[in-house]
């Protein structure tokens, strides 16, 4: 899977009226939250924190959703959502190690944390209809098309492109101006 470059600026640093909602992969409430250590699938590692991951049965490691996971009828039960620990060592950077806000790249190998149950901040694909509290969660499984990033969060059904997640996964309200919103998982 091709890693997306920084698509959005997830946070500004001059707050006129209120600050943003947060950062993808941050576990936003911990009473309680079930966070499980997992191996990252080296063939297809997760590409962004807060991403829905499933277990690759060959490697017993987690990977993001792909075209093979797409279904117009079967509801998908994921393994969890990739958690962002902070701070952690950057393994890549721009020129001279430059790193913009909200550009954190998850580790491509080794151990990662996955939220099995709890509340986590996630990044919506650009341009999707704003979710409502309790709204169904769709993931774009088909190949990236324009703003619809593969493995990214969507709010509406798109035949041949999206997969609906288990109803225990719901959006917990509308996003901020950067498209960051809270996801309720298995709560």
């Amino acid at each position: 899977m091709k890693k997306p470059v920084t698509r959005v600026r997830t946070c500004d640093v001059a707050f006129q009226f209120r600050m943003g909602a947060g950062f993808p992969g941050d576990v936003n409430r911990t009473h309680p939250a079930a966070i499980e250590p997992v191996m990252v699938d080296v063939e297809t590692p997760p590409t962004i924190f807060g991403q829905i991951v499933v277990v690759d049965t060959t490697s017993n490691a987690v990977r993001p959703l792909a075209a093979s996971d797409q279904s117009n009828s079967v509801v998908l039960t994921p393994h969890g959502t990739l958690v962002r620990s902070y701070p952690s060592q950057a393994s890549t950077g721009g020129a001279f190690g430059a790193a913009s806000l909200g550009s954190a790249t998850p580790p491509a190998t080794g151990v990662a944390d996955v939220l099995r149950a709890g509340y986590i901040m996630v990044q919506l694909n650009v341009g999707v209809t704003a979710p409502t509290k309790g709204g169904a969660v769709y993931v774009w499984c088909a190949a990236t098309s324009g703003n619809h990033i593969q493995g990214g969060y969507e709010t509406e059904y798109s035949a041949g492109n999206t997969t609906l997640l288990d109803p225990r996964y719901t959006y917990n309200g509308p996003p901020d101006s950067n498209g960051v919103t809270e996801l309720s998982c298995n709560v």
Binding site: D12, V13, A14, F15, Q16, F17, R18, M19, R29, T30, H31, S85, Y86, P87, S88, Q89, A90, T92, G93, F96, G97, A99, S100, L101, G102, S103, A104, T105
Partner: protein, 374 residues
């Protein structure tokens, strides 16, 4: 955060917090406000050419000088400037309320109660005296609990300390800023979800009107002459003074930043050498009647907060808010920010910070007025 005005009564001191990396370790910043970082004891060398932070730990080159100063987000709150606190409320209180008294008396002679009549005259042998009537209203507002959790793992904490950019202190300052910005919003415009209003959109204030058009045919100050702007000020003061039974002349006027900038720089006339603002400060009703200085301040929450406008959107309907900054007239009830003891849960350290935030109590809404379209 440097611009943040934090009321003393709600300021949380770092000291004795028991949760900060730097508790008890002496100075944490130098005289310029730079973070000094956590001392490692001996000289510390970055063997791999990397320094510890979007992941928070960055790649740094051998010939690179990374400024260790923490550059926090820019944000300013002004509620501490514009309203007094009601401090008797506690974390146990679910409602903050007050009573409002009014009196009544019937004239004794039965000649009516109009101006010039209705006094309590009696004769030398009268035994049927009139009495005084009393009525009280009780005005309640909810005190809504507010809470946020501060949490990190020991591993995150140690990594951040190694970087010299303590996650605990940064998260705490972020939480404080969130608290301050939430209080700021509650004080000025209240909360949409809870249906509460604030200082500049209070539902109890009925003295709301549009400024009259100037000679240009428009009401905006950019199109008005200095005389017309001074008239707007004095009309607003007079309107509120009148609504309060000519008892309370307002001493504070808040206007949007752009209009404040305009009257601060535009001269009162081509022959004059003072700004419209200075001229207004010298020639307003409050000052010329010998009742002190009229405070005029810029306020971001007035951008677009007029009737038909969108708060925060420039170019919609802006508002001027006129009131008296006095705890007896208008105030804000809130409790101090406090926290739970640290909870050690596996490798997590957690603490919840909480308080109760009330809604602006416009005790005498007659002493407040809103004027739109400037």
């Amino acid at each position: 955060m440097k611009n943040t005005i934090i009321n003393k009564s709600v300021r949380m001191a770092f000291r004795d917090n028991g949760m900060m990396t730097y508790d008890g370790s002496g100075r944490t910043t130098d005289s310029a406000g730079n973070q000094l970082g956590k001392p490692f004891g001996n000289r510390y060398t970055m063997h791999d050419g990397r320094t510890c932070d979007s992941t928070g730990a960055f790649l740094v080159g051998e010939l690179e000088r990374l400024d260790p100063t923490l550059h926090e987000p820019l944000a300013a709150v002004t509620w501490g400037r514009d309203i007094d606190l009601r401090e008797d409320v506690t974390i146990a209180d679910e409602i903050s309320s007050f009573t409002l008294s009014t009196y009544g008396s019937q004239g004794s002679l039965g000649t009516g109660n109009s101006i010039g009549n209705g006094k309590a005259w009696i004769g030398k042998s009268t035994d049927q005296m009139t009495g005084i009537g009393l009525d009280l209203a009780k005005i309640p507002h909810p005190m809504t609990p507010w809470g946020m959790e501060l949490k990190y793992t020991i591993l995150e904490l140690e990594s951040a300390a190694r970087l010299g950019r303590p996650i605990d202190q940064q998260k705490f300052e972020g939480l404080q800023l969130k608290h301050q910005m939430d209080v700021d919003e509650m004080v000025y415009i209240g909360d949409t979800s809870l249906g509460l209003t604030g200082l500049v959109n209070n539902s109890l204030v009925s003295n709301v009107s549009n400024f009259a058009n100037g000679a240009s045919g428009f009401a905006t100050w950019a199109t008005k002459s200095p005389d017309e702007i001074l008239t707007d000020f004095n009309n607003a003061i007079t309107s509120v003074w009148s609504a309060s039974g000519w008892a309370v002349m307002p001493d504070r006027i808040l206007i949007p930043p752009t209009q404040f900038g305009y009257i601060s720089t535009a001269k009162v006339s081509n022959a004059g050498n003072v700004s419209i603002l200075k001229y207004v400060q010298d020639n307003n009703l409050l000052t010329t009647s010998g009742r002190g200085k009229l405070d005029i301040f810029p306020l971001k929450w007035l951008i677009g907060s007029g009737v038909g406008g969108t708060v925060g959107t420039v170019g919609t309907v802006d508002r001027m808010a006129v009131y008296t900054k006095d705890k007896k007239r208008v105030r804000y009830p809130m409790t101090i920010l406090q926290r739970t003891p640290i909870q050690y849960d596996s490798i997590y350290h957690k603490a919840t910070y909480f308080c109760r935030l009330g809604a602006v109590e416009a005790v005498y809404p007659e002493t407040m007025g809103y004027f739109d379209g400037l």
